[in-house]
């Protein structure tokens, strides 16, 4: 396996620590005139998203991680398993409910997503920042409720519940921010 010496360390490097892939998100070079160099790094775990602080001294090395970013599309869900397809080589990937996390709420068949592969296997799949979802069920809003500060839960086509302003009706298409889970705007009235 390839490795990186401290002299190769830079932001954006993908490395393996304790058998997990990390992205070097910060690298600070500190060196006294006559002493050894210290490389103070912040590394983000590509699976769990946690950030690790590590210091390396000049001459240390880290294993390179085989990580690539690809475009893929969501095919379908079968109970607890989600199926995706690599848009370039048409490879198919299976992800568990746990791996997909909260993103299941936004996945519509055919949706273009972004995936990170480690040793050829997907470790994270990210939907677009904004997705449009059809409201399948909601309680009717009280008449005259046009203000946006009155909210209610609605059920969208993926089966997820989204908190929306009270004026949203069944059949409306709403735009949702997948990073926060928040309602953004009404995309169309059906």
């Amino acid at each position: 396996m390839a490795s990186y010496k401290t002299n190769d360390f830079r932001k954006g490097l993908r490395v393996e620590i304790d058998n997990e892939p990390y992205l070097m998100i910060e690298m600070n070079f500190v060196k006294p005139g006559k002493g050894n160099a210290l490389y103070k790094c912040k590394l983000r775990n590509l699976i769990r998203g946690t950030v690790l602080d590590r210091t390396y001294k000049g001459g240390d090395s880290l294993e390179a991680a085989d990580v690539e970013e690809i475009d893929c599309q969501f095919l379908y869900r079968q109970t607890d398993t989600f199926y995706f397809m690599n848009n370039t080589d048409f490879d198919q990937y299976e992800l568990s409910e746990e791996q997909v996390g909260d993103y299941w709420k936004y996945l519509k068949e055919g949706m273009k997503c972004h995936a990170v592969l480690w040793n050829g296997n997907p470790i994270t799949i990210t939907p677009p920042n904004h997705v449009e979802l059809t409201v399948e069920f909601c309680e009717p809003g009280a008449k005259g409720d046009t203000a946006t500060n009155v909210t209610k839960p609605v059920k969208v086509e993926t089966g997820a519940e989204i908190i929306c302003p009270a004026f949203i009706e069944m059949g409306n298409i709403i735009k949702v921010d997948t990073r926060t889970g928040d309602y953004v705007e009404r995309a169309s009235v059906k």
């Binding site: 006294p32 005139g33 002493g35 590590r54 001294k57 970013e69």
Partner: protein, 418 residues
């Protein structure tokens, strides 16, 4: 690869490489695209790079983000050539590497800074001439090199023989002192492989001077006079290495054992290296120095730290009365290590012993062995007059004089663009 290139104003031509994920545009020091304008919010806008699409979003900025003249109301996909306006600044979004490559001929420093740098060079030269120094020039490429565990000279083969780009002009200048010169200074380039960061560039400018007959105290006084004159301070402080450690960390750096030093580090908020192979007592002292002592030195006025441990003497002579220290001192300004000085080692036999010891450590580190013998050793055998020598990083001096945060801002072309 996608870039933003500034197309107007003083920083015209500066370009920012967009990395994958979020790139914050703002006045915040941490922002990837740092714009130091008052009309820009700390986090003004965000450019998100995902696979082949690049999106811009306004982060509820006060003065707004404009793309091709229209104020952003919602996230927008950027196309090659789009013009982004933030405050008075215009930036071009560019996916074509060739177009941005064509701007790499430019200096990373502004014209104003380069002119101010020229003024500082002139002022420095005048200071030395007025103090009775002669300016000298010694080889940058030499068959000799300083033997130091953590200095990595760049090797160059000439006519089948190994030479080195000098990590400092020390050897050449001491040979001139041994040849009869009395007070000399040099402003030259030095090279240290693997050094890069906000305070480091592989090739940098060093000011070095030697004065025959100077005591350590006189050499420190001269350095203090030079720095207060160059950076307009009213005075400078001095503190011994030992007192600084006692005051800040409550430990004795000369007598503590390696284990005691490691225990101190464990009690502090710092993530030490995990791999301790090859680390010795001096490495732990250095670590405490760079992380906890140095960041507190030289904020009110420049600070000279003196009486370094004998184990870190390098080319300084040992103190005749204090067996644990060497006659070595360093200058710090605003937490930045700026200069290093020695009451010079004169004994050729001691130099040889130190070189052998250092080469053994280099071998342990998997670093190439460097020659133990040199023209300098010959000069010392012949007789090097009692003298003091000091080396000062000129680029860092310019940074401090002009309030710049990175060496890139004060040198014409950093190594990546050299």
């Amino acid at each position: 690869m996608a870039y933003l290139i500034i197309t107007n104003g003083l920083d015209k031509g500066q370009h920012f490489v967009l990395s994958n994920g979020e790139n914050i545009v703002g006045r915040d020091e941490e922002a990837q695209i740092h714009l130091s304008l008052n009309a820009v919010n700390r986090q003004h806008a965000c450019v998100v790079v995902q696979c082949d699409s690049v999106l811009i979003q306004d982060l509820n900025s006060v003065n707004g983000t404009f793309v091709n003249g229209e104020r952003l109301q919602q996230d927008l996909l950027l196309n090659d050539g789009d013009l982004i306006q933030i405050a008075d600044l215009e930036m071009k979004f560019c996916t074509d590497t060739a177009a941005s490559e064509s701007h790499k001929f430019r200096s990373t420093s502004t014209v104003e800074t380069l002119i101010a740098r020229s003024g500082l060079l002139k002022q420095l030269r005048e200071f030395f001439y007025d103090s009775g120094f002669d300016e000298v020039e010694t080889p940058v490429l030499s068959a000799d090199t300083v033997v130091d565990r953590y200095l990595h000279p760049i090797s160059v083969e000439v006519a089948g023989k190994q030479h080195w780009l000098q990590t400092s002009p020390e050897f050449g200048m001491k040979r001139l002192i041994a040849s009869g010169m009395q007070a000399i200074f040099q402003i030259c380039h030095a090279f240290r492989d693997e050094e890069r960061g906000p305070l480091h560039n592989l090739e940098f400018t060093m000011v070095e001077w030697y004065q025959v007959g100077h005591s350590t105290q006189e050499a420190m006084d001269f350095l203090g006079k030079l720095i207060t004159s160059m950076l307009s301070y009213s005075g400078y402080d001095t503190i011994s290495y030992s007192d600084a450690f006692q005051q800040i960390l409550k430990i004795d750096p000369l007598k503590s054992t390696e284990k005691e030093l490691i225990n101190v580090i464990a009690s502090l908020d710092f993530e030490p290296p995990q791999d301790w192979r090859g680390m010795n007592r001096d490495d732990w002292l250095d670590l405490l120095m760079t992380e906890f002592i140095q960041p507190r030195l030289g904020f009110e006025q420049p600070c000279i730290l003196y009486d370094y441990p004998a184990s870190q003497s390098a080319l300084a002579r040992l103190h005749p009365e204090k067996p644990l220290v060497a006659e070595r001192f360093e200058l710090f300004v605003q937490g930045i290590e700026l200069a290093n000085g020695y009451h010079e080692l004169l004994d050729a036999e001691q130099l040889l012993q130190r070189n052998i010891k250092t080469n053994a450590l280099r071998q342990l580190d998997d670093r190439p062995e460097l020659p133990n013998d040199s023209y300098l050793a010959d000069a010392m055998r012949h007789g090097l007059p009692d003298c003091c020598g000091v080396a000062l990083g000129f680029d860092r001096l310019v940074m401090l004089a002009l309030g710049k945060k990175s060496i890139r801002d004060v040198i014409p072309f950093p190594f990546a663009r050299a």
